[in-house]
């Protein structure tokens, strides 16, 4: 009996140990890295370098940038707090976010972008998409004087939850992926990627011009503020174009079955279907629509732009177009450089989420460099000074509200060989779907 008890105890301990060591090497790395130095004090004694108003985070120009700019940063390790979502329903975005972030962090530190002996470090904690967890994580970051600024979120609902405490604390907060238009604030809340609503409106206009529909249906993830804003942007275009909206169908972020909503959408008989859904729900919706015989154009969003999307859904994705700020096939040196490094590191093609993670790290580095001091105030000022920046999304510009925009969006579609390719905005340019 004693042996059985010992065996049971050993098995239980093994299970617990396995669960505790949850393989989140990002967290382990973050917490065991060299602690922040007294850079804040030292930096305060140095002369603040004149900050550049146009950031140059392009990795291909790192050497020149180093030679041209002398940041007033004392040698040391400067920390930022990053709220990740590497577990839960949005982990499909959160995992590449962190991978891109870590890649950029290494590039920044190894290139000496911030000067000799100056490194940055992102403390990464996983909130799993949970609002309460995100609040707790960011409160801890705020209480940690070594954390100079915050980076969050992947979900608009989480961004809304953490907003009050961060605004109250007054340090810089950069949203790296959440798409609700209400997040940014000229005082301290900024965005490091282009807001999606203009892209939604842009592709809706393109679809109206290309397909000349008489009517349309819209599907939305109704419990996501950002996607509701995307829906409204689409409806605005349809309304102004005189397109009849036959129905707006609500779905929810944790839905796992789209057979019912897809049947409802198809029953409307719409010429074009617009989707503003979250992650896997949009993939499932496209699958169901095509599998059930819908042959018209589908206008999606970046939820169906990951490589896993093709593995999951395959050919039913044909005939669906989406606007995107980044895709690895873009013939731009910065994009190609990033894609090559990412593939070498993670053995997979970077998606939009990896690009968001990578870009926000460079954005924060530039803000630190602009600020010239390792203080929260200096970093906040450094963020405010960034007016435009060459990024993997294109040339980003920021308005007075801290909102980021790019001048042109790329429209893409899946090709039969599982690659994202450009959609030229014409009806003829749309690849045939499985029902044609």
């Amino acid at each position: 009996m004693t042996r059985i008890r010992l065996l049971v105890l050993a098995l239980a301990l093994a299970l617990v140990a396995a669960a505790c060591g949850d393989g989140d090497s990002e967290e382990t790395t973050a917490t065991t890295a060299a602690p922040a130095t007294t850079a804040t004090t030292a930096a305060q004694t140095t002369t603040t370098a004149a900050p550049t108003t146009t950031a140059a985070a392009q990795t291909t120009t790192t050497t020149e940038t180093m030679e041209e700019t002398v940041a007033g940063l004392a040698p040391g390790n400067y920390q930022f707090g990053f709220t990740a979502v590497t577990s839960g329903a949005v982990a499909f975005a959160g995992v590449p976010h962190v991978q891109g972030l870590r890649l950029a962090e290494r590039e920044i530190n190894e290139s000496g972008f911030l000067g000799d002996g100056v490194t940055i470090e992102f403390l990464v904690e996983d909130a799993g998409g949970d609002q309460a967890a995100a609040i707790a994580i960011n409160d801890a970051y705020i209480a940690n004087d070594d954390v100079l600024a915050l980076v969050c979120c992947a979900l608009s609902s989480v961004a809304g939850a953490i907003q009050p405490n961060i605004v109250e604390a007054g340090l810089a907060w950069v949203d790296h992926a959440a798409i609700a238009p209400t997040i940014t604030d000229p005082d301290n809340a900024f965005r490091s990627f282009p807001l999606s609503q203009p892209s939604t409106a842009a592709i809706a206009e393109a679809a109206v011009a290309a397909f000349a529909p008489e009517n349309a249906a819209v599907v939305v993830t109704a419990d996501n503020d950002g996607l509701v804003s995307d829906r409204d942007a689409t409806l605005g275009v349809l309304d102004s174009s005189g397109i009849e909206v036959l129905g707006v169908i609500d779905t929810f972020a944790d839905d796992t079955d789209m057979s019912g909503p897809a049947t409802e959408v198809i029953s409307l008989g719409a010429d074009v279907i617009f989707l503003a859904q979250l992650g896997n729900t949009e993939v499932l919706m496209v699958q169901e629509l095509r599998d059930r015989g819908y042959a018209g154009p589908i206008i999606g969003n970046l939820a169906i732009a990951t490589g896993e999307t093709w593995e999951q859904a395959g050919e039913p994705l044909l005939g669906t177009v989406l606007p995107i700020a980044f895709f690895a096939g873009k013939d731009v040196p910065m994009v190609q450089d990033f894609a090559a490094k990412y593939e070498a590191e993670y053995d997979t093609t970077p998606d939009i989420f990896a690009a968001q993670g990578w870009q926000v790290a460079w954005f924060m580095a530039q803000a630190l460099k602009n600020g010239g001091e390792g203080t929260r105030e200096a970093v906040l000022e450094g963020v405010r000074q960034i007016e435009s920046m060459e990024t993997v999304f294109g040339t980003l510009t920021w308005d007075a509200r801290g909102e980021a925009a790019i001048d042109a969006w790329t429209f893409v579609q899946w090709s039969p060989d599982g690659e994202l390719v450009i959609w030229d905005g014409s009806a003829e340019g749309l690849l045939p779907n499985i029902n044609q």
């Binding site: 049971v8 098995l11 239980a12 299970l15 617990v16 396995a18 669960a19 949850d22 393989g23 590497t86 577990s87 839960g88 329903a89 982990a91 499909f92 959160g94 995992v95 109704a222 169908i249 609500d250 779905t251 929810f252 944790d254 796992t256 079955d257 057979s259 019912g260 909503p261 049947t263 409802e264 029953s267 896997n280 993939v283 499932l284 699958q287 599998d291 059930r292 015989g293 896993e308 593995e311 999951q312 859904a313 395959g314 050919e315």
Partner: protein
């Protein structure tokens, strides 16, 4: 009419996966008195193990499903023997097993995150049944037909096993009173192990079928099934497998038809509103108080 029939088919398919899950969930609740919230993770692990078998062992889809089901069943046995058996031996009440099951829910959920890398995994598309049967204007995907048939066959097999075999009689005896069963020569621990395996195995089947329907193997597979499975058991009556089946089907129909004809926004309101109504009108569920099953 076509729309109504199409949505009814969708509701039956969704409800069938709830029914499969809830049959095992109800079996454990009825025989052991355990509200096992870790039950959803058996569905998750069934799907993960089936995919792992398919990828690693190079076996076909059906053998992979069998491996996933067996793996899920064994995890259920492991959880029972590690977590619930010690509590049973000490005569623990209702709360201890619930807390224990929450612990295993978290542990198995975290392990599922590690196993999947928190990403969505997929079976190769060509390995899945993606065709359709078209009847007039109705489109019925193969996977919906498979889910519906599997639910019915499982109900039949489990019901006959429990009601017509000696092993089933032992299960009913243990569900009625373990001490009396022991006096009659039944080995309650062995019976409990069998029940745990069957219950977790059926949850694993539900998880695998759900994953195949959506080609989505992730650590969240079982989460959607858990609440609906629980509601199905309460609605149908936890003392009878047929009640769990009917409860699952009703929830599926209410969910899909409610979304179509009322609003998708009220879907969960409709589902759990149904639960509340049944609890008020028939506290023991639709079949729990009048059909002889696992419990009186």
């Amino acid at each position: 009419m076509t729309l109504f029939l199409q949505q009814t088919i969708n509701g039956l398919a969704v409800g069938s996966s709830y029914a499969i899950f809830s049959m095992g969930f109800g079996l454990v609740f009825a025989t052991m008195g355990i509200l096992n919230v870790a039950h959803g993770t058996y569905a998750t692990w069934g799907a993960i193990l089936a995919l792992a078998a398919f990828d690693s062992l190079g076996v076909g889809l059906v053998p992979s499903i069998a491996i996933g089901m067996a793996g899920g069943g064994l995890i259920g046995v492991l959880v029972d023997q590690l977590g619930f058996e010690p509590i049973r031996r000490r005569g623990g009440g209702l709360l201890g097993p619930i807390i224990t099951s929450i612990g295993f829910w978290i542990i198995l959920g975290q392990l599922a995150i590690i196993a999947t890398g928190a990403r969505i995994k997929t079976f190769p598309r060509e390995a899945l049944p993606r065709g359709f049967v078209r009847v007039a204007d109705l489109v019925i995907p193969y996977h919906q037909i498979i889910t519906f048939v599997v639910a019915l066959v499982l109900l039949l097999i489990l019901y006959l096993f429990i009601m017509r075999t000696n092993a089933g009689a032992q299960m009913r005896a243990v569900g009625w009173d373990p001490d009396s069963a022991k006096i009659s020569g039944v080995n309650p621990r062995r019976v409990v192990i069998v029940i745990s395996f069957i219950a977790a195995g059926t949850a694993a089947i539900a998880g695998i079928l759900s994953s195949i329907s959506t080609n989505n193997v992730s650590f969240t597979v079982g989460e959607g099934l858990l609440l609906k499975g629980f509601a199905a058991v309460i609605i149908g009556g936890f003392g009878d497998l047929r009640g769990a089946y009917i409860g699952g089907i009703l929830i599926g129909l209410a969910e899909v038809l409610g979304a179509q004809y009322i609003s998708n926004s009220f879907r969960d309101f409709i589902t759990f509103g149904l639960l509340v109504i049944v609890l008020l009108v028939r506290p023991k569920g639709l079949m729990g108080d009048r059909i002889v099953g696992l419990r009186a």
